[in-house]
């Protein structure tokens, strides 16, 4: 195999990368110092490049996909796809926004749209002011975004602004909801993971800027710790999460699991790594980083709450030190634009650290260079090497003993008593494992054994609160203890292992079981289906209790998969009570299944048991004594080569079937033939000299032991060992909570569609009569023509305009009033009709049941100015139909495909059941090259009693790779005129975990000017509870839709895992003069991150000149922020 070539390749790559990065960093520094205000532009470019990078990374690295290293490049891909997905989501969201805006404001659309489509036609003057750098960038980007990469994010911002904008102008929209979400989410960036909320854009932007900023900072060497750091970290984690959850695959979770612990621990490790890099031998250093790297990503995953929510400066420093360390060691840079490598997103950066670690690892693995570290201990490498790599043993031997004491020296802090008990138990596990090893006749220096011991040590180290020492003596002592105990004879150990055997029919499952127990437990027949049903077999092997579950053989053909399903389901029922510790998937070594013939049954296994079954699976290759086939030249190929190839094929197939490209199932060889060569002890020996049975058992026991250790240390639930039957993921509780707290409008009957505000406006009824009368009493007024206007003097003009405005206002008010009255009348009329005898009402009903003659608004996408081939919009106009199903395509203009950017379909419909119960349905399905997204929402509401209504909803959406189903119900009480209360419940099912939530909401309408909404709620899942609350107060003009004054104050609190996140948001909109608006917004959270933005918009053409002020302001601001720093 081209190991040598590969090594060269890798190092080459690293070199290049380094160079590129150096170059870039220099540039960065220059730019940074010289033109501060240009940074934004740089950022844009960077992001753009990143976006490209996200497409290119997999391609670039794919050359590695071979042999041992194949998992390395793949690591980046999940991140990529995730990002792509996010981008997609944002885009999707923005798309929707565009449509919203267009439907909402006719007059406004001229105003907003140009800005969204193209920044050239910016009409309003946006002046932003940033306190922190990040928010400054965001604000600036609003204006700056021009091209695709950053365009996505920035467009969304302008979109958002557009929203508030139209809100001010039209007064028909209810943006409160949106705003509320904005706060909640900007406080809790982890909800990013779900990638569904429009406001995540905000995080995204901040992050984009921040990361760039950070990169430069680090390069300059300022090492200044800002809040951005914490942001970035948090962000990185988020994307890692999905990956981390699957990490159990690598048997890594001893390290992974550290995620649960507080940040301190993992940082402790990092610190211990940094503190004395010089004292360590190079090998140790690598091992350390590697170890850390592997725990790094998952650790980070959970660290996010800490970092993001606490905003504890100290933590950040530690982060930094850690990342610096990584920087130093791996020559990885924070600047994420290596042109060669094109790191795509923040995620990649984290991954990149890992992947740049890995080459060194693999180098040490493959080259026969001086010992570095135990083979295959890397993050991505399997715990257990494919079996026939025995020759590595001696190298490993010297190494392990060499390695462990050093680790011990690393940590300098004293051990505490509180963990002594745990340590004692761990020690017992170690002893147990060594005893098992001994019984199986393996030395502690066996590869597998060494790895397990190493992992145990690492787990202990990570677990210890103060980085407690793993004494070198723990191993020696354990070993001594084990020997002593073993000397006493083979008394039964307190250990049992359950193995479930799966595989094709006729590969030798039952025979393997017989071989394991060395007696015929199950009768076999070469030509008959030996095993008819799932059965458990128990026995002792060397005094170790082993329980094996034999299953009937599976069939390879697609047409037989229902039979397989039946078999597997019975197996699933069988293992329900007693889940197996390990799954042994058997196949024949001498079958050349190059036609992916096993795919159907592997798929079926995955479907029935879930992909997690593969996390704990060992591949067994039976008929291992068979001779390798002839090679292409007709000469026999080597046995080892044959085994490797064959294992590779099966591992690949499993990976594909499980949909997890990082899976690397250990392979064990099996030979059940009675004619198999045996050694003196009567054990069967394979052609490569391996005694297979102890190896197979050792592999099984090792993973059981690791599972036990995990359970003991109560590590995170992505334990590789143990119950794959009920593996769960931590639900993003805060996200669910915030979506629960969000107050939703209830579904309404079609005829009530337009009286949305009715209930609120009830209040206003009494007051206006005098003003109305006023309008009627006004003397007649004649509008002047333009020519006449020109003749007026300045003061006259002013008077005229004032008068006109006043009249307009009154007129509009009256119109609104009338409209309201009309609606009310209609309603009354409808109610009366219903009371009328049938014969008459039928007629009316009939008319109503016809498809609404009111044309369904089919918003046309704003067409581009030219019929450019680049813009497909003009090709996809769709018709206005009277069909009640409103179906629209979902366009993504900045997606992968520039030509045909349609990636989904959106369908909406309002049903009416029994003329009483409205059911609204809206769903959206999008699919791009990587991800398919489904979003469905069904809502219904029933009015019962006076002023009480209950709504029921069902949501379905993609959260990461899973589908989350949410059922929510909410009851509103309108008992008092000024107070409305609501209580709601929701249950979410995601994967196999369920979470339930409860909320209470109270809406207080004090008077026309002031209203307030308070809500609080809790969400729980598997003993994990998140609490949250929000408060929103709104002051507005007395006659709000006309008078444009409005200010809102929002506050929200979220508590999860003891982390408190508080965010505040204030927005004020003040009309200045006749045709200008001033909108000021500020938000701040308890991490210290905030944003201030001030916007002035005007519909007077003169004010357009204000646009020219923008660069001026920006310059001033940049001076200001420089001073601040």
């Amino acid at each position: 195999m081209g190991d040598g070539a590969e090594i060269v390749d890798m190092s080459d790559r690293e070199e290049k990368k380094k160079l590129a990065e150096d170059r870039i960093s220099d540039e960065e520094v220059e730019k940074n110092e010289l033109v501060r205000s240009d940074e934004v532009r740089d950022n844009e470019e960077e992001v753009f490049e990143e976006a490209i990078g996200s497409q290119e990374v997999p391609k670039l690295e794919s050359f590695e996909a071979d042999g041992l290293h194949e998992d390395l490049p793949l690591e980046t891909t999940p991140g990529n796809s995730k990002d792509a997905h996010e981008v997609g989501d944002q885009e999707e969201k923005s798309e929707v926004n565009v449509q919203d805006i267009i439907t909402m404001g006719e007059a406004e659309s001229d105003f907003v749209t140009p800005r969204m489509n193209d920044d050239q036609g910016e009409a309003g003057a946006d002046i932003s002011f940033g306190k922190t750098e990040s928010s400054l960038d965001v604000a600036e980007n609003i204006e700056k975004a021009t091209s695709s990469g950053f365009g996505l994010a920035a467009e969304d911002v302008s979109m958002e602004n557009g929203n508030t904008h139209s809100f001010s102008e039209n007064g028909v929209v209810f943006p409160e909801d949106k705003e509320l979400v904005a706060e909640v989410i900007s406080m809790s960036p982890w909800s990013e993971e779900t990638g569904n909320d429009g406001i995540e854009d905000k995080n995204w932007e901040e992050n984009v800027d921040v990361s760039a900023g950070m990169g430069t900072e680090q390069e300059v060497g300022q090492g200044e710790v800002t809040n951005e750091n914490c942001f970035e970290k948090g962000f990185v984690c988020i994307d890692n999460e999905s990956g981390a959850q699957r990490n159990g695959v690598d048997y890594n979770s001893v390290q992974n699991a550290s995620g649960d612990k507080s940040l301190n621990d993992s940082i402790e490790v990092a610190r211990s790594g940094t503190s004395s890099p010089l004292e360590k031998s190079s090998s140790e250093e690598k091992g350390e980083t590697e170890g850390h790297g592997s725990s790094g990503s998952p650790g980070v995953t959970f660290r996010e709450h800490e970092t993001v929510q606490k905003s504890n400066g100290g933590h950040d420093v530690q982060h930094n030190s850690q990342s610096n360390k990584e920087l130093e060691q791996q020559q990885d840079s924070r600047v994420n634009i290596g042109p060669e490598i094109k790191e795509s997103q923040h995620v990649e950066r984290e991954y990149d650290v890992l992947s740049s670690v890995s080459p060194t690892e693999s180098t040490s693995n493959t080259a026969a260079s001086p010992p570095t570290r135990p083979a295959g201990l890397g993050r991505a490498a399997p715990l257990l090497e494919p079996a026939p790599r025995v020759p590595q043993q001696p190298r490993v031997n010297g190494n392990v003993s060499h390695n462990q004491p050093q680790q011990a020296e690393d940590s300098t802090t004293a051990e505490t008593d509180e963990h002594d008990e745990t340590r004692e138990k761990l020690q017992l596990i170690r002893v147990k494992f060594l005893r098992l090893t001994h019984r199986l006749g393996q030395t502690p220096h066996n590869v597998v054994v060494a790895q397990v011991l190493y992992r145990l040590g690492l787990a202990e180290q990570l677990r210890g609160r103060n980085g407690s020492r793993v004494g070198a003596f723990s191993f020696d002592r354990a070993s001594a203890m084990a020997e002593q105990l073993e000397a006493g004879g083979q008394d039964p150990l307190d250990f049992s292992c359950t193995i479930m055997v799966l595989g094709k029919s006729g590969v030798g499952k039952s025979a393997t079981i017989n071989s394991i127990f060395d007696e015929v437990k199950i009768s076999t027949d070469a030509f008959q289906m030996g095993t008819k049903r799932v059965q458990g077999v128990e026995g002792f092997v060397q005094g170790i209790k082993v329980r094996v579950i034999d299953t009937p053989g599976l069939l390879p053909s697609w047409s037989d998969q229902h039979k397989n399903e039946k078999i597997l389901k019975s197996a699933r029922a069988f293992i329900k009570k007693n889940p197996p510790d390990i799954v042994l998937y058997l196949d024949r070594l001498d079958m050349q299944s190059r036609d992916s013939g096993d795919m159907p049954l592997l798929r079926t296994i995955t479907d029935v048991f879930g992909p997690s079954i593969w996390f704990n699976a060992i591949v067994g290759l039976t008929h291992a004594a068979s001779a390798p086939p002839d090679g292409p030249s007709g000469t026999a190929s080597s046995y080892d080569m044959f085994v490797t190839q064959r294992s590779h094929v099966i591992q690949q197939a499993i990976r594909q079937a499980a949909g997890d490209r990082r899976l690397m199932n250990p392979v064990s060889l099996v030979e059940n033939h009675s004619a198999c060569r045996t050694n003196r002890a009567g054990q069967r020996v394979l052609p490569n000299g391996q005694v297979w049975k102890p190896h197979l058992l050792l592999l099984s026991f090792a993973s059981k032991i690791l599972a036990e250790a995990n359970a003991l240390l109560k590590l995170q639930d992505n334990i590789p060992g143990g119950q794959f039957v009920a593996r769960s993921k931590a639900l993003p509780l805060p996200f669910l909570l915030s979506s629960l707290l969000q107050s939703r409008p209830q579904a309404k009957l079609p005829e009530q569609q337009y009286d949305g505000e009715e209930d609120e406006d009830d209040l206003d009824d009494s007051s206006d009569s005098d003003e109305e009368a006023e309008y009627d009493q006004l003397p007649p007024f004649k509008r002047l023509t333009k020519a006449e206007m020109a003749k007026l003097s300045k003061s006259q003009k002013k008077q005229y305009l004032d008068e006109m405005e006043y009249r307009e206002k009154l007129f509009m008010k009256r119109q609104m009033k009338e409209e309201r009255k009309r609606r009310k009348l209609l309603k009354k009329f409808a109610a009366e009709i219903k009371n009328l005898p049938n014969g008459y009402s039928e007629n009316v009903e009939e008319e109503r049941s016809e498809p609404p003659s009111v044309p369904v608004p089919m918003p046309d996408l704003s067409l581009p100015a030219s019929f450019d081939s680049d813009n497909p919009t003009h090709r996809y106009r769709y018709l206005d139909s009277s069909n009640q199903w409103l179906v629209r395509p979902v366009l993504e203009t900045n997606g992968w495909d520039h030509d045909i950017g349609y990636e989904g379909v959106n369908a909406e419909r309002l049903f009416v059941v029994k003329d009483k119960i409205p059911i609204s349905f809206s769903g959206q399905v999008t699919k791009d090259k990587k991800d398919a997204n489904v979003q469905l929402e069904m809502a219904s509401s029933v009015k019962h009693g006076e002023g009480r209504s209950t709504s029921l909803g069902l949501d379905m959406q993609n959260v990461g790779k899973e589908l989350a189903y949410t059922i929510r119900s909410e009851t509103k009480f309108n008992n008092f005129k000024k107070n409305k209360a609501a209580a709601g419940l929701s249950v979410t099912l995601m994967g196999d975990s369920v979470s339930a939530g409860l909320k209470v909401e109270d809406k207080l309408i004090a008077n026309k000017w002031f209203r307030m909404v308070m809500s609080g709620g809790a969400m729980t899942s598997r003993g994990d509870v998140a609490y949250g609350g929000s408060l929103e107060a709104q002051f507005r003009d007395k006659d709000y839709p006309l008078g444009r004054f409005l200010s809102t104050l929002g506050l929200s609190v979220m508590d999860w895992h003891g982390d408190l996140a508080i965010g505040g948001n204030i927005q004020s909109q003040v009309p200045i003069g006749r045709s200008s608006n001033l909108i000021a917004r500020a938000n701040l959270n308890n991490k210290g991150a905030g944003q201030v933005s001030i916007r002035v918009n005007s519909s007077e053409q003169l004010q357009l000149a204000m646009v020219s002020l923008v660069p001026l302001f920006k310059k001033l601001l940049s001076y200001y922020s420089l001073q601040q720093m």
Binding site: S505, A526, P556, S559, M591, S596, D630, P632, S637
Partner: protein, 297 residues
């Protein structure tokens, strides 16, 4: 088409004893006025079709790769020796990801247009214990493609013959059991009647293509039972080729599969009639509707 007809160089590679026997068999064929013979090799993927072809020719004519899927196209190898032409057509595996690869079958059929198949070698492994649904499907697919008659010109070749059977079974018992189960599958898959199948009397030959195959003192590759297998195979091939059955000629009609449509011919006027009435009915209904509803929409 395809490969040129070349002198059979590999023939010289065979041990003298084998050569003698082969010459004898080919002579027999010539006596029956057969100056050329076309052998089609089919079977599932990875059972050793290409290796068998190579063994038969005595040269590495077809690329054999243990872990990569072979090409999708059939390959014809032609060799002449003393006026006799031997054509062997190697075909891609018929199974793809748990399905029968109908596309491959179509390709083979297309390749065979205007050719005559004298013998079909259906290849499978001896050292596999079970037959499953997939085997039956493969047989069914072959039957559908070439017709039932092809099985009268078939030879069942079981590769990987050099192995020791499990469960203390004797070699003879195992191999006979294995061939029986395969033959049963062929019968079931081709849906032949019992009598038909017995008439076809598909012979079974064992083969071992591995370079590790043991050899007798005449340097011939032999099976565990001591028989040299290449002469056996050729003998069986000639026997099948010269049996009374007609060789399968693949013609245009077979490729286009037109005959399969003949079944429905009689229904055509019926359907037309039915259509007429249905249209009438619909028209009537529409008229009725217009009448009753009165005003246009």
């Amino acid at each position: 088409m395809g490969s040129l007809v070349r002198e059979w160089v590999g023939f010289q590679q065979f041990p003298a004893a084998t050569q003698e026997k082969l010459v004898e068999f080919f002579g027999k064929l010539k006596q029956k006025d057969m100056n050329s013979m076309t052998i089609l090799v089919m079977g599932k993927g990875g059972v050793g079709k290409s290796s068998t072809v190579n063994s038969l020719i005595g040269e590495q004519v077809v690329r054999v790769s243990p872990f990569q899927a072979e090409g999708l196209r059939p390959v014809m190898v032609s060799r002449t020796m003393g006026g006799f032409t031997l054509n062997i057509i190697d075909s891609p595996g018929l199974v793809e990801a748990g399905y029968v690869n109908h596309q491959a079958l179509e390709l083979i059929k297309g390749f065979l247009v205007n050719r005559t198949i004298d013998v079909l070698l259906y290849v499978d492994r001896l050292d596999v214990y079970r037959v499953d649904e997939l085997d039956k499907q493969v047989v069914r697919a072959i039957t559908q493609t070439f017709g039932k008659d092809i099985w009268c010109k078939t030879l069942l070749v079981l590769t990987h013959a050099q192995f020791s059977p499990p469960d203390e079974l004797s070699y003879e018992t195992f191999s006979s059991k294995r061939s029986d189960s395969l033959l049963k599958t062929i019968r079931a898959g081709s849906k032949m009647r019992k009598q038909e199948f017995e008439d076809a009397a598909i012979p079974v030959v064992y083969a071992e293509n591995s370079g590790r195959c043991s050899k007798n003192d005449k340097d011939e590759k032999v099976l565990p039972n001591g028989e040299p297998w290449i002469p056996n195979l050729v003998k069986a091939i000639t026997d099948v080729a010269t049996n009374k059955r007609k060789a399968i000629h693949v013609d245009k009609k077979m490729v286009d599969g037109s005959y399969s449509d003949d079944k429905g011919k009689k229904l055509i006027p019926l359907i037309i009639g039915a259509q007429y009435f249905i249209v009438k009915m619909i028209q009537g209904a529409i008229r009725n509707d217009i009448r009753t509803s009165g005003k246009p929409l």
